[in-house]
Each structure stands twice: as structure tokens, then as C-alpha cells.
Amino acid sequence: MEVIRVENLEKTFGTLEVLRGISFSVHQGEVLAVIGPSGSGKSTLLRCITHLETVSGGTVSIGGEYMVQNGVYAPASVLRSICLNVGLVFQNFNLFPHFSVLRNITEAQIHVLRRSKKDAERRAHDLLAKMGLSDKESAYPFELSGGQQQRVSIARALALDPEVLFFDEPTSALDPELTGEILKVIRDLARENMTMVIVTHEMFFARDVADRVIFMDNGVIVEEGPASLVIGNPESDRTKSFLARFTGQDQDYSV
């Protein structure tokens, strides 16, 4: 079943064409990695699908409903509920600094999904246990390491039970030691068949965890296919030259 379908997506900033006709889909339970050089449009693509940017043209459907069809957005009331089907984990976590870890995770459950405080807290307890952060419930974000903050932000996104979870370079703000703990969390989620789209620079992680990989350059999809093929044995010269820089950096992320 298709959870996300993107057709001919276009995004321009002024005269700059950042996305030039992107089409792909994401299936239930699939892990899709999006790789490519800086400025290739990966992050913009994610921001368009999560409605942080307004597209210039094309179609995006989420969970079978059109968020935007041929450049025309769904009415505001529908749009909000459609967008709740996608979660996003930011590069810089963007936790709410004035809320405790627990409240970071319960606030949207209570005030957006209208869950009772008790249910929201139970869900938060479960997620924090899963993230290995049960003892940090009453801590404030500034008291946590980057890796811990990122795990809280993953829990915050999961708490709303999104159909798909997007990650925008989730380890780019972390040092290598902390990167491992985030990649482990993503790997665990993949085992539970969470549908995920991950923009990443961790090529070997992408190869190991993703089912499918999209290589983007200059606002278009250059190559798309099973992870082992696109990263292990790419067809296009552009992909080859991009990946050449990563050889010899193979690391074992299994923790």
C-alpha cells in the first residue's frame, strides 16, 4: 500500500529551481533513504512533503488523501488532519526548551490530538522507555546530550502515531559517538516496520537499513532502486562519483 505518493513535484525560490519534477512513492513499512550532495534539494523535498514549504507545482498524497493536487492545496481544515499523518525529526532537534522531556512529548498529544493527560503520559512513558530515557522524564532539554535530545524528538514525533516518519539529516548535528545511538533507534524502528523516509549522509547506514535509496542531484532524482544496488553498484556516473568519496569509511553501526 502506498503511504506517500509524489508526482512531478516542483519547487522554486524566486528564479531558482530547487525541485524539478520529482516523482516517487513510499510503501507501508518501507524505509527509504534519500541521499545526494548538498544543495541537491533533499531537505527541500522533505520540507515540501511535511508542509513546511509550499510547493510550486505537482501532487503530493499522504495516506491516500491529496495534500496538494497539481499545485492546488487541500482546504485548510482537511490539510491539517492530512499533515498529522507525517512526523518530522529535525537535524537540530528543535525541542521546546521551556518544557520538560515529558511535556515535550505530551503537549501535542493533549492539545492537538485531545488525548487525556493520563493517556498522553502513558504513551510518553512507553516511548521514553523504548528510547532508553526513562530516567530523564523531568529533565529539561538543555540538560541532555545531543543524542538524548534527538531521541526525545523522535519520541515526540512518534507520540502522535504518524503513518510516516521523516528524518532530515538526524545525525548531522551529532558527533560520531552519538550518531550510533540515533542510528540504532532508527534501525529498531525499521524492525518494527515503521514507514520512514531518511535524508542522510550516512551512506553505509543507508545501505544497511534502507529498503530503497533515492539519489538526488540538482533537483531531480538521478537514480532510484534497492539500497544495495544504488549504493553498492550504482548505474549513473553522477552517483558513482558522489559515492566514491565514501568508500573506505565503512563502519559498523550495529550497537
Binding site: H51, L52, N92, N94, F96, P97, H98, A108, S153
Partner: protein, 211 residues
């Protein structure tokens, strides 16, 4: 001596009244002014900018005189002196607070709005639950400065004949042929601002549970 002190406490009450009423009206009024200033609507932001420029660009004492005398010369009516003081002070202080609010609001990183949007918060929820609490923390030091200045600015109310603390001290001084009452008034202002400083230090401490 006791008679002088009694008169000066009376004057202090008037000063405190001006102080509190100004804050009660100026603090909330500054919020819509800050929003209008940040608005993409050119007319709203232009008009507000003009208001801010005039209020911050001319002396408060002049504004006070204008508010008190302009209605009389233009319309032939006049306000109660005390009301004129409050109107002038509120208009003036709202301008300063509006700029402090604007600075605070604009200092909140875009990532906070983006996280809130992705989590499905409405714009109002985002402002009141996510942004405003963080703004309050950031504007406390700058607001403390303004509030302390306001305590001292109440002395200007005598310009249009309101007998606040400083005027009372000057009267006493003239009666006694001594500058002593003026210095006593200085101690009064100092003590009031000491309290203000303590209150602000306490608020800052209270909000220091996060960074």
C-alpha cells in the same frame, strides 16, 4: 519633620498610582503594537512605526504637555490632569515595550515554529504555548530597565500640576528653606527601585529552570 514625611508618603502614593496604572495599560497594549509593527500589512506596520518613532523620538515631558493642552486648544475640552498623565505615560511606555516585545518575538528560532507546525499546533497555540513563554524569559532584563526608568519618570507628572513625590518634596523644600526634603525623596525613589530590582531578580531566577 513628621508632617513633611506624611506629605511625602502621600506624594509617593500618587507616584505609585501613576506607576501601576501605566504598567497595567502599557504592558498589554504593547503586544498588539508589536504585532502591528511586524505585520506584513504595509499600512499597519507603517503607521505603527510612525507612532513608535514619535513616542521614542520626543521628550516624555513634551508629550505630557501635548496630551494635557492639545484637547483644550483643539476641541475646547480638557481632561483631568491625572488622566492626562496616565494617557501620556501609557502611550509612551507602550512604544518602548512594543519594541522590547518585538525583539523578543523575533529572537525565537524559526525551528520552534516549524516543530510546532509539524506537530499540528494551531497558530494561536504555537504563540501562546511555545513562543510567548520563551519570549517572556528573554525580555525580562530589558523590561526591568524600562520599569525602573518609569519609577523615576513619574516625577515628570508635576509638569502639568500633579502633586507626586518629587513635587511634594520641592514644596517642603521651599517651605523649610532646605534641600533636605529633595534628598529624602531621592531615598524614596531608591527604595522603590530597589524593590523593583528585587522583583525582577526573583522573576529571572524563577525562569532560570531552562535555557
Amino acid at each position: 519633620m513628621t508632617k513633611m514625611l506624611a506629605a511625602m508618603f502621600q506624594g509617593t502614593l500618587v507616584s505609585l498610582e501613576i506607576f501601576l496604572l501605566t504598567l497595567v495599560f502599557a504592558l498589554p497594549l504593547a503586544l498588539p503594537a508589536a504585532f502591528a509593527r511586524m505585520s506584513r500589512n504595509r499600512l499597519a506596520s507603517g503607521l505603527t512605526n510612525g507612532y513608535l518613532l514619535v513616542m521614542r523620538g520626543t521628550p516624555l515631558i513634551l508629550q505630557l504637555i501635548f496630551v494635557y493642552f492639545a484637547p483644550f486648544y483643539l476641541l475646547g475640552i480638557s481632561f483631568n490632569r491625572f488622566v492626562a498623565v496616565i494617557v501620556a505615560y501609557v502611550l509612551n511606555y507602550a512604544a518602548y515595550f512594543a519594541e522590547i516585545y518585538r525583539g523578543g518575538i523575533e529572537s525565537i528560532p524559526a525551528g520552534q515554529y516549524e516543530a510546532a507546525k509539524v506537530l499540528g499546533f494551531t497558530r494561536a497555540q504555537t504563540f501562546f504555548r511555545i513562543v510567548l513563554p520563551q519570549v517572556v524569559k528573554r525580555i525580562i532584563p530589558a523590561s526591568g530597565n524600562e520599569v525602573i526608568t518609569l519609577v523615576k519618570d513619574t516625577a515628570l507628572a508635576q509638569t502639568i500640576g500633579v502633586a507626586e513625590l518629587f513635587r511634594t518634596a520641592q514644596n517642603a523644600s521651599a517651605r523649610q528653606f532646605s534641600t533636605m526634603p529633595i534628598f529624602v525623596a531621592g531615598v524614596f525613589y531608591f527604595v522603590m527601585n530597589w524593590v523593583v530590582s528585587l522583583v525582577f531578580a526573583r522573576i529571572e531566577k524563577k525562569l532560570s529552570y531552562y535555557r
